[in-house]
């Protein structure tokens, strides 16, 4: 009975989905891994959603579901959204990859966009930002600012995107300060404020005076502020509430232009599957204001580095670079290709510890 019902509603939904093309409103759905009020990653995606609403007005209807756990729950959430007649669904976390593909196969007429993944289908595109360009700037500032020469890094899950960030930050930290050391904690979560705060505190207690984070909440900022004498960087969002200290700069993700662009494509019927990976140049990654807590010359160097990456003069992964085990990776002047970067599963030389599987 329930199966029949499901099939029936699926058929109806498909009918609605296709007929919606003919109608004026396009329904755009968003699946978020955290709450919209996390002040970081999900917050910026929701800003993108609001930008879509503002840009298209009555022509679009947006829906979202927040705090969706990665795994089976995600598949259910995405399927419900497709059943409710969404024409375009953005799934905004790496762990939504398989659920997105599974639902996409059942709804060939609905378009799906998966953030930070690497698998596509005729109706599934992927998009991501070159956050590692921002990490390079962070690494530079961090190594110039640290007095203990210990930089703490709160990593989330051992996936290429996170490892890329650690490597990019480390390479550029070492460049300006050869004595710098990275202490890395794998939190195994995207969003868990108490745990993120504990991780930051543990790093600070072990001598770190700079905290970089790849988790989504502002809890590490609060922990750093409480400890005092520690600097941090906004992650995914500006986290401006913690200016000028501890937050001295930030990486901001700007999804709005992409979301508007793709929604337009669905409206025009020109949507095609593609893999987008944009950085500072096209504006998908922005560097938040560098506060006065950073000396003027360091700020100038950081901005010059950002500029060089924006206009393509400089690639953050430029040889000579070796892997952690000492083997050669990039020769002098050689830059990393996107394929290697997308699948990055190794540390560069100098980092200690091993990457969990």
């Amino acid at each position: 009975m329930t199966l029949l019902k499901k099939l029936a509603s699926a058929a109806v939904a498909l009918g609605v989905a296709t007929s919606a093309m003919a109608q004026d409103t396009t329904k755009v759905g968003f699946i978020y891994v955290g709450p919209v009020g996390d002040g970081g990653w999900t917050y910026e995606h929701d800003q993108g959603r609001l930008a879509v609403e503002e840009h298209f007005g009555d022509k679009v209807e947006t829906v979202f579901q927040e705090s969706v756990k990665e795994g089976p729950e995600a598949e259910r959430a995405i399927r419900n959204m497709a059943l409710d007649g969404a024409d375009l669904i953005f799934t905004t976390s790496f762990g939504f990859m398989e659920p997105t593909l599974a639902v996409a196969k059942q709804f060939p007429d609905v378009k799906f966009e998966h953030a930070t993944g690497f698998k596509t289908l005729p109706n599934v595109s992927t998009y991501s930002a070159r956050f590692y360009e921002g990490r390079a700037v962070q690494g530079h500032i961090a190594a110039k600012m640290t007095e203990s020469n210990i930089i703490g890094y709160i990593a989330s899950y051992p996936i290429p995107e996170v490892i890329r960030g650690i490597n990019a930050a480390y390479i550029h930290a070492r460049k300006v300060n050869p004595d710098v050391e990275f202490k890395i904690i794998w939190a195994y979560t995207w969003f868990d404020p108490p745990k993120e705060a504990d991780a930051a505190t543990a790093l600070i207690e072990q001598g770190a005076d700079v905290i970089l984070q790849h988790t989504d909440s502002t809890a590490p900022q609060a922990a750093a502020e409480k400890a005092g004498g520690v600097i941090t960087f906004g992650q995914a969002s500006d986290m401006a509430e913690y200016k000028p200290l501890p937050r001295v700069s930030s990486i901001i993700d700007d999804w709005a232009p992409y979301y508007i662009d793709r929604t337009q494509a669905v409206m025009d019927g020109t949507w095609e599957t593609k893999q987008t990976w944009d950085g500072i140049g096209p504006g998908m990654v922005k560097i938040g204001e560098i506060t006065d807590a950073v000396p003027a010359e360091v700020k100038a160097e950081a901005l010059a580095l950002k500029e060089a990456m924006a206009n393509g003069d400089y690639h953050p992964f430029t040889g000579p670079l070796k892997k952690q085990d000492g083997s050669d990776w990039l020769a002098e002047g050689e830059t990393a290709d996107d394929g290697t970067l997308l699948g990055m599963n190794f540390y560069v030389e100098g980092l200690t510890g091993e990457i969990p599987n």
Binding site: G39, P193, P194, L203, E205, Q206, A223, E241
Partner: protein
């Protein structure tokens, strides 16, 4: 063991802080469950307490008033559950889950505009003289008042349940509500009060996260602490002392594993052998204390185990391997469950009326 740059004093001090929110919430839930009511809404009440306490503390400038508001907020929300399950006789599991969802949504609504605001700092209660004792001072006597409140609450719950008439009535209601009713005890009233107590405790635990541990407001910031508290009550066999042990284990190992990761610490293999020997020694002393003689077979088993462990420890002298991060991450859950399950091998069991609906006419 190579702790590297880990400072054990700071670590033990952080343990007390990390354990407090789940300890307070779990004690509240323990009382609720001892009256035979299963309230799965701990997470919802915690997060509501977190925002009620945070908003009040920010607006009044007093963390103490914030904590009171958190308790009131949590208890207020639990009244909804109390009404549904005790008056309307709704299913407790469904009502509890509903309460969690409702609490998460309500807190997100109440929290609009409180993101990025800093709460007034809660002062540390430096106990004079005691706080100056080296090592012990920072670990035990240099905390905020809520840490001590949690410990006091634990002692109070234990004593009241074990030694007082009120505790006896409460347990009677939980074990057999029909019999308690026949004796003239007000089953529904006892349960209502217990549910409100549980709500107030959950609210306090939530406010501890938003006012002291993190300190800030973020939607969904309790991130499952309520569920941990719930699980703790079950694994602790509904005993206050074991809840404390469980909370310390969970909080302590959580903090320890983060520190081990940051320090890049290595596991000395011989330590495993020494740990077994230590366990055997404790077991032996416990056995001797009960004066129950061991059989020859038991003695042989213990002797073999001892020799094997000693040989293992000596043979592996100096061998170290890096901790695997994935195992470290699961260790708080694994070790807490393991220890409490082994301890619950005695005759502990759930209150007999747990989760059953009571109506005087039936």
């Amino acid at each position: 063991m190579d702790f590297g740059s880990i400072n054990p004093v700071l670590l033990l001090a952080s343990l007390m802080v990390a354990a407090t929110p789940i300890l307070i919430a779990a004690l509240g839930e323990l009382v609720v469950e001892r009256t035979g009511v299963l309230n799965l809404g701990v997470e919802g009440m915690m997060i509501t307490g977190a925002i009620c306490g945070f908003a009040t503390a920010v607006n009044t400038g007093s963390p103490l008033i914030g904590f009171i508001a958190a308790a009131v907020g949590g208890a207020g929300l639990s009244l909804l559950f109390a009404f549904l399950t005790q008056v309307a006789l709704a299913n407790q599991v469904a009502s509890g889950l509903g309460l969690t969802l409702f609490g998460l949504g309500l807190s997100a609504l109440l929290g609009q505009g409180y993101q990025g605001i800093k709460p007034p700092p809660t002062g540390k209660l430096d106990i004079p003289l005691l706080a100056d004792i080296p090592v012990l001072g920072p670990i035990l006597f240099n905390h905020d008042i809520m840490v001590y409140a949690g410990l006091a609450l634990c002692a109070a719950v234990w004593a009241v349940l074990k030694y007082t008439r009120a505790g006896l009535i409460l347990r009677a209601v939980g074990e057999n509500h029909d019999a308690a009713h026949a004796l003239g005890y007000k089953v529904v009233r006892v349960r209502m009060l217990a549910i409100m107590f549980g709500g107030a405790c959950a609210g306090l635990g939530g406010a501890y996260i938003s006012l002291i541990r993190v300190p800030q407001w973020t939607e969904g910031m309790t991130a499952g602490a309520g569920w941990i508290a719930l699980a703790l009550v079950v694994f602790a066999s509904w005993k206050a002392g074991r809840v404390l042990l469980g909370a310390w284990l969970f909080g302590g190992i959580t903090v320890l594993q983060l520190n081990l990761q940051a320090a890049g610490a290595q596991l000395p293999i011989p330590a495993l052998g020494w740990a077994v020997i230590l366990g055997l020694a404790i077991y032996g002393v416990a056995k001797a204390a009960t004066k129950s003689p061991m059989t020859t077979k038991q003695l042989w088993t213990l002797g073999t185990l001892f020799t094997a462990s000693l040989a293992f420890a000596l043979l592996t002298q100096g061998i170290r391997v890096p901790f695997k991060v994935e195992y470290l991450s699961m260790s708080p859950y694994l070790i807490t469950i393991l220890v409490l399950v082994i301890m619950s091998a005695d005759k502990s069991r759930a209150p007999a009326s747990l989760g059953r609906i009571f109506h005087a006419s039936q």
